[in-house]
């Protein structure tokens, strides 16, 4: 019974992953869309981390590392959102002001967030946790 459940659950999981891989944007995301993507990326990483922690396989040292990268990544993503939210929005195009969105403050925050998310990804991958 347990083997059947595991096989069925694995099939569902593979189906879900297949669905995710088949969905891609038709155009390259701009800065604002990249920041939104960073939020989605954080959600995926945190969900993967939660599952890994609950598996009981994490050592105290790894738990400490997860805690640290979680703090850094969350803070960096939140800072990027705050930086972008400070930019004016064009009422017609519904786009953020490009000069502001492409400015040092927003781009720097996005770069920091991207780097922090990469560290989170690397840590989980090092522990054998898939983040795809």
């Amino acid at each position: 019974m347990k083997k059947f459940f595991i096989l069925a659950a694995t099939a569902l999981l593979l189906s879900a992953c297949s669905t995710l891989q088949s969905i891609v944007p038709n155009v390259a995301p701009d800065t604002a869309q990249s920041i939104a993507a960073a939020q989605v990326s954080y959600e995926g990483l945190a969900s993967a981390a939660e599952i890994y922690i609950n598996s009981g396989k994490a050592t105290p040292a790894v738990l400490k590392s997860i805690s640290q990268v979680n703090e850094v990544a969350h803070s960096a993503v939140a800072s990027a959102v705050d930086a972008l939210a400070a930019c004016p929005v064009d009422a017609t195009t519904k786009k953020y002001d490009s000069t502001c969105a492409n400015g040092a403050a927003v781009q720097g925050a996005l770069s920091t967030a991207t780097s922090a998310l990469q560290q989170f990804t690397t840590l989980l991958n090092t522990q054998g946790v898939s983040t795809q």
Partner: protein
């Protein structure tokens, strides 16, 4: 590995994946529309991000306190 642990991991993945797929699909829809996410949309997602952040913070602290032996269904 204990079968109950395997089941717990798979259950956890299945529970987590749909919400991540949903968030990803929403993001793709925004990109394809050509519009930028509004501040309200970003803040809405931020609330979900915050919830996960506090969850991981609590889980790591609890696991560390228990000598890396956290509850399976956290």
């Amino acid at each position: 590995m204990n079968p109950s642990v395997i089941i717990a991991i798979v259950e956890g993945i299945i529970n987590a994946v749909p919400s991540v797929i949903s968030a990803y699909q929403s993001w793709v829809a925004v990109v394809n529309s050509g519009a930028d996410p509004t501040v309200a949309q970003l803040r809405l997602t931020e609330a979900a991000v915050d919830a996960l952040y506090f969850k991981i913070k609590t889980l790591t602290a609890a696991a560390a306190a228990q000598g890396a032996a956290p509850a399976v269904n956290g």
